[in-house]
Symmetry: C2
């Protein structure tokens, strides 16, 4: 190892600080002539080349362009509900027809009263847990299964890929019937309410009138609340974990940043990339930004701190810290880089854009809902129904609504009126920077203000941020189990 | 206005919710055939065309490529300190020479004891306040001037463009003496300590031995602490506002995301774009991300809420909300878009990359400093000096250091030992998500643990987040005025 000791020319006054360097100098730092290496940038070009090669290969066998992994989940691994009629949407006119991909676990009871509809976050498929036809681990494997928090010995669990998604349900990558080509950005703007209405067409087809519960985390919590709002007579309980009843400017800003980097990728081509290469670089960059919002600072402090990556010494082979570079140095950087790299070909870019937009648009305040002219089947005079009489929760009967609610909260309570008779579990995480704990309190307060006296409310500590719902089986799972029982 | 009322086909069970739309349908939503418009994406191409046209224009008169605004501040509006000798760096070998652009306000006293060195944030120039040669408003105009918090009737104030910058100081856009071409990414990695050491060469040239105070906000606070650390005998007081003594993984993640989108812009060309077009799209996207970290959620809730942009009706001319689109809808989105657009040609992309990296690398814990072998001129036995005897502060003499400090805090205290005799003002903002209030407490606690009994510590409330130091004249200005007096 080269040890260099030198002294800065003595300053005119005072003691001159000394600069000594006991690390190997990089080739660029001594003479400044060798061009710096950028593996993190070269990775984009390398990915592009690999994809181009796969196009060339597929050209020899077919006329179609490359199909990234998301375009071909094996249809034998999920079921499809096909809706052959026009489906009217909140913000646009209609879809001529649609498919919803779904999977189920457990057995529907003879009285059909044990169904739980599970709603997913932005990018998840219907594969919440492993099945005989698809034994790979699901996105909520630890929570759904025999004897687990959502006990499939007891409940019949249904999970769908959302409308707008790319894992079997109709979305921007689906073929538009009138053209026979992928919708691309001809796909209409969709809302969370549209996603839920599509799911209830599936429930209709399954002969399920009453849901024992509607359960969701993150964007799934929005859907879960929307399900209770649209169909208060059909939803027995609502579970909303790390969600919100109205997206905040901060969360819109984070999703806008993701959409912006994605749409700036030349491969995106205004959404028409299905016969070419997908915007994999934009997807990687977008995922890096998203990942920042999924965890929390304290977790990274514990997990990565300021540790930097090590590389094997070219002579001794011993791992040692590299000199600072412009590509990732810190472990937090390599982590984000890796997360982006893993995701960038797994999910359809247009699905990300449309679904993240649907999240931005979600707002249950009365003024926002009035603007949509979307009506609930709620009848204010309906006698509160508990679908299972015996299982009425009473966790928070003693919690009164806030005494002097601010105007926005009153508006939210007014908008959420249809949920006033449905036992609801609201659970949030104090370290969540995307769906902040303030938003969880807001949901619980608005429900209580709306007259709901069966709101169970929990706040979790810990450092896992928004991702807590994927990790904390003990606390998240425990709260769900207790609430559903 | 078209009013459409339709009913979803009645579901098998229960009441079918109704969807009604009372807004004009966009051309894409009815037939799904007209291609969607993307003004936010077209903006990048339009900017590219404008820049190309300016190249063509400049080609007729010169051989050089387009020079964005940052490349030509008028040299008559600032002074230059030229350092003609090699300058040794912390992470790389050396720069063969360097320039530092600076401006001054007020008059140096005959005893040269009233100088304040002002350090800037990442992208600021030396123009902290208006001057006779440059009457345009400076970045800290409200704080620096006759009778203001930093009173130029009393103090001689010096502000520099940092080493690595692009407003007159040597940085990646400067010509490399050995090649006569811009450094680009041949520029060496620099540290906050290098920036400060370059500034002290300027002070030497001005005949300033003792600083009355070193003052900085954001990255400037890092420099301010570094100045006290490197030259404890030459710095009378240290002001650190919304800074940190060691960058956290969260802040590194946010800067990494910015560098990543910038470096993915094909125009960036691994840093060698000076004879072509600059990576303006990457710069816009990076600035959008940065802007998210500069303010806070509560401010956006108040300022924008969920309001969406309005457009004049094509017939009546009356402003009305537009239908949801994939480009910006919400005011928070148009705000971020505008901030990015305003910035993307004002600052050099490579300067952003190098300086943000220097921020990531900043760490005053003893282990990190030991690794650098960077030595302070601190002598533990030096009798505490107060350069002005009479002006010794006593704000926090009664505040003891934390009783059971965690190990990292002890390490930080050990590293910050050279600052133990310098009266220091640490001020932070509770709504700051980039330089969190926890980091401010950490700086104050570490200094107190290091034996500094003249730490003034303030936390500000309010909703302005990191940008508070640019806005809150009453509280930030007041604390500085009180501390300096």
């Amino acid at each position: 190892m080269l040890l260099i000791v030198f002294h800065v020319p003595k300053s005119l006054f005072g003691t001159a600080p000394t600069v000594r360097l006991n690390r190997p100098l990089s080739s660029t730092s001594s003479g400044l002539q060798t061009q710096r290496q950028f593996p993190c940038v070269d990775a984009h070009a390398a990915r592009e080349s690999r994809l181009k090669a796969s196009v060339a290969l597929s050209d020899t066998t077919s006329e179609t362009g490359p199909e990234p992994a998301y375009a071909r989940p094996h249809p034998s691994q999920y079921s499809i509900y096909h809706h052959p009629r026009p489906f009217h949407l909140v913000y646009a006119a209609k879809l001529p027809s649609f498919d919803i991909a779904y999977e189920t676990w457990g057995t529907l009871s003879p009285t059909r009263d044990n169904a739980i509809l599970l709603h997913t976050g932005l990018s998840a498929s219907s594969h919440a847990a492993s099945t005989p036809t698809n034994p790979s681990e699901g996105w909520w494997e630890k929570f759904v299964g025999p004897g687990k928090a959502i006990d499939t010995d007891r409940y019949f669990v249904i999970c769908t890929n959302v409308l707008g998604g790319c894992y079997g349900s109709t979305g921007p990558s689906s073929l538009q019937p009138s053209t026979g080509k992928p919708y691309g950005t001809n796909f209409p703007i969709i809302s969370i309410f549209d996603m839920v209405r599509a799911q209830f067409h599936l429930l209709d087809s399954l002969g399920i009138d009453q849901l024992y519960a509607s359960v969701g985390c993150s964007m799934g919590a929005m859907q879960s609340l929307a399900a209770g709002w649209l169909y208060p007579d059909r939803v027995g309980k609502v579970v909303s974990i790390s969600g919100t009843a109205r997206s905040t400017p901060s969360s819109i800003a984070m999703r806008f940043a993701q959409r912006s980097v994605l749409m700036a990728d030349p491969n995106w081509n205004k959404g028409f990339y299905y016969d070419g290469l997908p915007p994999h670089t934009g997807m990687k960059l977008a995922r890096q930004i998203a990942t920042i919002t999924y965890r929390s600072g304290p977790e990274w402090d514990q997990r990565f701190g300021r540790r930097i990556r090590t590389l094997p010494d070219s002579v001794t082979g011993k791992e040692q810290s590299s000199s600072p570079a412009l590509c990732p140095d810190f472990l937090i950087e390599t982590y984000l880089d890796h997360q982006g790299e893993q995701f960038c070909l797994k999910y359809d870019a247009n699905s990300l854009i449309y679904i993240s937009k649907a999240m931005d648009l979600f707002d249950m305040t009365s003024t926002a809902l009035d603007g949509l002219q979307l009506t609930s089947s709620f009848h204010p005079l309906t006698i509160p129904l508990s679908p299972h009489g015996l299982h009425k929760t009473s966790h928070s009967k003693s919690h009164p609504p806030p005494a002097n609610p601010p105007p926005y909260l009153s508006e939210l309570a007014q908008g959420m009126q249809p949920l006033s008779n449905i036992p609801t579990l609201v659970l949030g995480v104090q370290s969540d920077i995307l769906f902040t704990v303030e938003q969880q309190r807001e949901v619980a307060d608005a429900l209580r203000l709306a007259g709901n006296d069966r709101v169970s409310y929990y706040e979790l500590g810990g450092v896992w941020g928004h991702d807590t719902f994927l990790i904390d089986v003990l606390n998240v799972g425990g709260a769900i189990r207790g609430f559903l029982a």
